[in-house]
Symmetry: D2
Subunit: 320 residues, 4 copies
Amino acid sequence: MSSTYGTLFKISTFGESHCPGVGAVVDGVPPRLHITPELIQAQLDRRRPGQNKLGTQRNEADQVQILSGIENGISLGTPIALLVANKDQRPGDYSEMRNIPRPSHADFTYNMKYGINASSGGGRASARETIARVASGAVAEIFLHSKYNVEIVAWVSSVGEVDAPGVNIHNISRSEVDAHEVRCPDAASAARMVEQIEHVKSDKDSIGGVITCVCRNLPAGWGEPAFNRLEAALAQAMLSIPATKGFEIGSGFAGTRQRGSVHNDPFVQKDGRLGTVTNNSGGVQGGISNGETVYFRVGFKPTATIGHEQQSVKARSGCE
Amino acid sequence: MSSTYGTLFKISTFGESHCPGVGAVVDGVPPRLHITPELIQAQLDRRRPGQNKLGTQRNEADQVQILSGIENGISLGTPIALLVANKDQRPGDYSEMRNIPRPSHADFTYNMKYGINASSGGGRASARETIARVASGAVAEIFLHSKYNVEIVAWVSSVGEVDAPGVNIHNISRSEVDAHEVRCPDAASAARMVEQIEHVKSDKDSIGGVITCVCRNLPAGWGEPAFNRLEAALAQAMLSIPATKGFEIGSGFAGTRQRGSVHNDPFVQKDGRLGTVTNNSGGVQGGISNGETVYFRVGFKPTATIGHEQQSVKARSGCE
Amino acid sequence: MSSTYGTLFKISTFGESHCPGVGAVVDGVPPRLHITPELIQAQLDRRRPGQNKLGTQRNEADQVQILSGIENGISLGTPIALLVANKDQRPGDYSEMRNIPRPSHADFTYNMKYGINASSGGGRASARETIARVASGAVAEIFLHSKYNVEIVAWVSSVGEVDAPGVNIHNISRSEVDAHEVRCPDAASAARMVEQIEHVKSDKDSIGGVITCVCRNLPAGWGEPAFNRLEAALAQAMLSIPATKGFEIGSGFAGTRQRGSVHNDPFVQKDGRLGTVTNNSGGVQGGISNGETVYFRVGFKPTATIGHEQQSVKARSGCE
Amino acid sequence: MSSTYGTLFKISTFGESHCPGVGAVVDGVPPRLHITPELIQAQLDRRRPGQNKLGTQRNEADQVQILSGIENGISLGTPIALLVANKDQRPGDYSEMRNIPRPSHADFTYNMKYGINASSGGGRASARETIARVASGAVAEIFLHSKYNVEIVAWVSSVGEVDAPGVNIHNISRSEVDAHEVRCPDAASAARMVEQIEHVKSDKDSIGGVITCVCRNLPAGWGEPAFNRLEAALAQAMLSIPATKGFEIGSGFAGTRQRGSVHNDPFVQKDGRLGTVTNNSGGVQGGISNGETVYFRVGFKPTATIGHEQQSVKARSGCE
């Protein structure tokens, strides 16, 4: 279960911070899709830290290699294995640090579960694990876009107390998002976010934030009635990303304060299909997409790694 | 996938609003547990609508029957099938209503997905589906409590704009919750919630709310590093409940506005184990329980069924 | 895993010999199929012991009840729960017999695994468990037949040393099979089988046998390259039936003695599609159906229950 | 489903004949096991073709690389990714051969399923796919042996008409098997097998065979009552290997001709545990291991690749 996700389209990820590489086996990809390393690399480049002075100061030139499942740029229908080599592949010596678990990191819980920790870096809990998700997600997006014209755009909608309210979910594009270093397409808010981050960094501290994601052009009928409601699947996927603490779809927590007469989305005819006037549902009713735009927000806690001295305690023997 | 949940402990649910019954097959229950119909019925009785004048005005005397897997009050290790008969087992005639989908109900999306709807009631999207979850959950709780002394308590922490801030997650008990008809253990807030609900009902309207849930005594080490992080599994489970729009664990969305120096939970020695001073993590670090109390909030939109006239449109042929 | 089978079409079975009932939740059934209790009952009637003097002398009038997922004879796309009540629903007292495990029954291994046995009858290892498979299989067959015109016919092809070689896999029909009480459509062989069984019964003994099954009209392209090769999925399904000891597809074990030049199935044009001259492959190449008839044999050991005294040993405390 | 196998211990394999590499992600491996590339390589070396003049004349120096999950020879509990580079990584040009499907190869069925074939070699249907199984199996064996002292030995028990009856399943060892180039530990039979193979090769033909496998020291209690009976899981695993046509456990098809009084395995006390006098059950009763030796046979058809001209037909457009 741990590292495999999905039923028909299924990804199995692997990799720690300092092992030879991180990657994924992506199974269930339809045959005859046009997939190239460049198309996947484009997303890994968007992920890469060290692109500006605000984020983590590492330059990880993560180059993806396609090991199988694609020939001459065409998918074969067989598993696609993706590998990104780690630049620093030398696990360290087991050291004192591991016996003093870092607050709000995974050191302690991994030790309790496995009785062992990777000798250095975050091990499997490293943010490098998300490389496998980005590469796999790039493959998924190629399919969704080429077959259904699905468009997925996500951006930073708040950093600490700075919100970016003025983004139109109906036409915001990925290039507008990428135009700003904090990935917030609302220029005024973006400027305040930069200020906020620089201020926090100067205090050797970190700050949390929220991303908003929209998925346009989903056909009606995706999702399942019970345990795999579309919002349930999205919530699982999102909360499985390191540092996430919350998920809300459509009206979300704000919607809990509304009345049904306001919250219900009336049906109208739209371009020959049934659509809704408002979209408090966030594109999902009864767990199944209704053809409207799906949108949701995901909350990230502040990064646990900070420059401050922090209180911790020496664990007796590695796993106590 | 749709109606099966879990890997080792696995439930497969069934049932519409007006078919002979709703229920579940609960597989992976350890042998030699003491399980009786009464223990399961106690939770179904807590679920039952019509217990007070605030909720839905139906009196559903839902009696659970154990069909298999238990003999003389002892589990055999084999699948436990649970059945609750529906009182009204007559599906209606297909009628006009189904061609005019009700706003923010599942009529339209089920029709788009399946090309057919149950002839009356909510069908599989009916709240009666949750009977199977409550019955299965009662079995799960028997195991968790008898084996690990896990305590799970959930309560209504807001209704519309009325919040109930004063509940202590460390010692709140289920009986304190059940003592009030709105299942809010903060008496003053509960009184305001009743007022709020009655006001909304007099307007033939509905209102949303939030529940908070705490899980105490989870051992450290539960959950998985990647896709089955404990918070991801909880989020999926919670967002699979009808009418939910949001999930947050620990500090949640409020935590996104904090700094790392404030949000990080310092370690201390606690009764011979490593614990944390604060618990912004909500009992989970790196996707794995750390031995602290797990707590989370789930947002519910206002019920879609209201007494008002609403705007809708006749679909052409059932699935357009 | 234990009691759930399948990915998109998924069955979850339950039931012991003396609990209230046995049955299954059948999930993933397409909507708008015509399914009635009568169509399922017809297969349960074919399964029922006590239809003649040769088999087990019980008259189990197993009546299926559809609990959900079907309305007015039409499937809704939601889980279909099927229940067959047990006539004898009284579990016995725990008795001496369980401490002396019966040779080649499941008493001992269940005790080792679970530390408990059903108090009487075979419990979950009872042949009554196959009721759930027959009922679920009836639903599967309705789909396969109505959508793809797939025809499945199985018959007894040997009893002990008596073989029935003269059955034509290309046109044998289920009604021809059902015409004889031993379900062998080769009349001369069937007569010898009856003799064989009566002889063994007069010795208070039992005898094994083999069934052959053909599946006609499978389209090319079913099955998967690696772990879910069609033959692998069939082998798992067949070897999960109680008392089975062997499975072979196409040329089977006899084919291992052939040369490739004889065994290979040359391609020819057949009615506008590519077909093969011979069919040693049994309709499967590379794990995927090729459009030819799939056929396989399944071996059943002699029933463990015999009239003889047998050697056993008292286990010390139920699970040793 | 296709390329992932297992529930708690799970492998996801990838790789075609001429892509950069074949391998697997092995998830669910317990932490703190001693696992090195050398221990895995030892099994890959045993698999490697070209070790003698009898088999395929290729020298594939398949070197395994551990990409993740192991540090300093110790497993971390995280996914272990294994990679074996292909020496010939250049996919060919699409050529005539693919339009004329080779008899009893997977060319035709892959084309029907995917509408595309790897441009050269067997693609995903290549025997190189089994590299991933051998490497993953080596990891599984390390666990089974170090934790339970399970011993697994398999050998060639027939080639064409030549059987090797005189092998003692209770003490045959892997080194005895490896001592002979045909992997048959019965020297006289092995010599006749060599003769048989050389004779067939001189005819530019191929021949089938059977392997027998024994698993010793399995504790009682492994396996599940219904769909994951131990024999069902073994049958699926075995029939998922390319070229297999049959599986039998314990007495197998021969047992179907026996009487129950002969076939039943009487219980006796054995070294302080309950054991059986005979072992027609093959170590499994009711789908669950009983502590006796598990043994089974797997039939392989003759290799489809032969030196003869064979009949085939040009498919019209690649997938007809």
